[in-house]
Every structure is written in C-alpha cells, then in structure tokens.
C-alpha cells in the first residue's frame, strides 16, 4: 500500500491546535437565524457564553459576540439572556447570509 496522504495531525492521536487550524464542522452554515446584540441592553454578565452549546461566544471586553463561523443559530443565548439583549434575525436579511 502506497500512502499518498500527508498527515494533518502532528501527533499520533487526533490533536489539533485550535489557534492554527480548526478541523471541525462548519456549523455556521447550518444557521437560519443569527443572534444580533443590542449593546445598550448588554451588561456583560456572560450567561450567553456559558449556555452557548458550541461555545462560540467571543469575549469582546465589554460584551459578547457569536463567532458566525460556528454559531448554529440555535437561539439559546437569546432565550437565556436576562436582559433580552439578543434578537434572532433571519439570515435572509443579511447580505452575507
């Protein structure tokens, strides 16, 4: 057997460095709605980040934002936010959606 494949993983086990490459599902493409934050309402409590299933909330220093490459649009952040700071907006309303 002639192996032509060049190894993706540097290690024997399937470890990947998330800073360099994320060889994981492009879950952002599953989304039909995206969370849009009203910064006026956000008090940076972090509950959205705690509840986010794919853990894609980015800490922006004074608020959180979903990483749209991985956000599936499940809306749990919007549901759990005590101040209702997230609105789930249909993807069709965005140029990049």
């Amino acid at each position: 057997m002639v192996i032509k494949h060049k190894n993706i993983f540097k290690t024997e086990s399937a470890w990947s460095n998330a800073d360099e490459v994320l060889l994981c599902l492009d879950t952002g493409s599953w989304r039909t709605e995206r969370p849009v934050l009203d910064k006026e309402k956000c008090n940076y409590c972090g509950l959205c980040a705690l509840y986010c299933p794919p853990q894609c909330m980015k800490d922006m220093g004074d608020h959180y934002e979903a990483d749209l490459a991985y956000c599936k649009g499940c809306g749990i952040c919007a549901t759990e936010c005590p101040r209702k700071a997230f609105a789930m907006v249909p993807e069709g309303e965005f140029v990049d959606g």
């Binding site: 494949h5 086990s13 460095n17 060889l23």
Partner: protein, 399 residues
Amino acid sequence: MAKAQKGQTRVITGNAVGAYGAMLCRPEVVAAYPITPQSELAEQLAQFVSNGVLDAEYVEVEGENSAMNVALAASVAGARAFTATSSYGLVFMYDALQEASGFRTPVVMVNANRETPGIHAVSSGQQDMISARDTGWVQIIVENDQEILDQIIIAFRLAEDYNIQLPVMVNYDGFYLSYLAEAVEIPNIEDVDAFLAPLKKQPGRQKLVPGVSIGCGTHGMEMGYVEARYKHCQALERAKNKVDEIDKAFGDYFGRYYHGQIEEYRTDDADIIIVASGSATGTVRTVIDTKREAGIKVGLVKLRLFRPFPAERLIKALKGKKAIGVIDRSLCFGWKYGPICMELRALSPEIGPTPILSYIDGLANLDITVPHIGRVIDEVGAAAQGKPYQEVTWIPMEE
C-alpha cells in the same frame, strides 16, 4: 535490567488481585462503579485510597458511563487512569469506550467477564468482552489470578507505550476467577516502578492543558477522520509484536512468561489443536495430558489477545494441522460459529483446508468440564481422520 526481588505470596481472590495489580501501577485517577462480579475490586481499590496505600483521586461515579468518561478525560489530561467493570457496566459505557480509544487514551480497565443484557444472567461468560470487540481497544484474556495481576502491569506498559497509545482491557472470567482465591505473588511496588520506568523516558504524549487552545478527537472531518482511524488501526497492528516484546521483558524481570499473544502447549508434534481462552484453558491442558498418555497427538493454543487478533502467530501455530476445535464461551449472533472460531476461520486461506469445529460451551456459569473437553478432542481427532463432523456444537444442548 536486573531481576525483581521475590514478592510476597498471598492467597487472595481474583478481584483482590485486580485491585493489587492496579495499585502497584500507581494510577493517579481511579473511577469505578461496583458491579457483580467485579464489586470487590472497586471496594478494595477504594480501601487502598482511603487508607493511604494508593495516592490517587478515586472518583465515586454514579454509573459506568461516567466511570469511563472520567477515566478517559483524566487520561487526556495526562494522568494514569484505571477503571474496572463487567457486563451491563461495559455495555453502559459503550460510547465512552470508543471515545477512549478514538482519543488514543492509555486507560487500563479490568473487565470481569459476565453474560450481557437480554437474558438476565448474573453468571460467567465472555459475551461482554466479545460485544466490545469493535471499540478499538486492546483486549487481553487471562487464565488465572496471577495472570490478572501481571497483565495489569503489562497493560499499563503497553497502553502508555509511545508507539501504541491505546486503552487496554484485561479480561478475566467473572465468578470463576473473580471469587477464586489462589496463591499469588505480589511483586514489590519498587520493582513495578522499575518495570514501568521506561515509559517515563519516552517523548511526552500530547495532553490537555488549561489555557491552551487545543482540541482532541473532535476535529476529525473527512481526511482527518480517515487519518486518525488509519493511525489507530496501525497502532493495533504494532501492538501485536509489542505484546510479545513486553511479555519477554516482564518474564526476564519477574520470572513469569505468558508467551505474548498466544500460548502454545504441546503443539509442536500435534496433529490436532484445541483453541481456547480464559480460565477453561487450565482444564484443557489437563485433558490434553491425559489424551497424550493414550497416544493422541493433541495440543492447545491459548488465545491471550483477542484484539488485535494474533493472526500471524495463529497461522504459524495452526498451519498444517489436521483438524482444529475452537471452544467459545460466547456467541456471535447471526453467525453460527462461536466468535473466536469465526475470527479464526478468516485465516482459513493461510491455515489450509483443515476442518475447523466450533464448540459453544460454558455459557452462564455452566462448567467447561473434563468430559466436555474429552469429547471435543475425540471429535476433532475423528475429523482429522477424514470422518464426517458437525461444524457447530452447543455442548450443553446435546446433554
């Protein structure tokens, strides 16, 4: 390497031996849930931790699925992890078994063989181990109490080998060995340290470290998946010779050899071979000795490694033999042969056109008796002489 000092001989049960074996290897994390017939092992290990004999984190989990998840997570974080289970417990951790091997975590687990769900049997049988065949683990089967202890030490040396990095399951017949007290030599812990010391000289394996953005196992899309699985299969292939190599190193140091992947008993000039595994092999040896006195050239192949399957060594041992009988203590649903027999038949092109007779016996605590094995040898002997034979025999159903 010099020889180990003589250990302390004690008469203890297989379960207690399992606890001693694990303790001697100094696992840093133990997560186990008690289940018949393994309970005493989980209790004894907890005792070792509570009285300070073993310095480990003992996680009292609420079930076996958590036990395996704790063990594999601890292993991913770099700890030496141990667990033990049986039957329903093994089935309950089925997904976690695959995570453990997929993540290439060197977890060592003892499994006290017991029948599996469906027919509520609290009794011995290898069905649990057989049902976990395709989980990607290394599976070792032992014959007696001393072997339980020794194989746990060998299991850690194998699992943590840099070129292997796989979880290892040490299987012993529940009820038979779990509750059987035998004289066992317990090595000195310093000697076990010395035997496991080469592991520390290897390159360090990748670990999960807080604050470092690194992922394990979750990043296997498409070619990532194929590559990881290919490496896993290659590691299992390498594990075969590694088992032989570690067995020799163990024997040279502790004075007890198990002959690696398979043990051959009186096979050299044998015309017919009986293939068996686990505690029943002791009885098979006795019957072979009796039959030899009557001039029947019969030998035993004791299967010690079920996964990876020791194909090359089996071919070498079985090639040219006139007939083979395989005793299985479990079933292969949907294939009429017993599971070990079915695996062995996959080697037919290499072994040659030899009658292979499948025997199902010893299910649900029914003994694989001396008369049973005598009958098997007689029938395999007749098949070797070209007489017609029955391909599959459920021995208890014909009695």
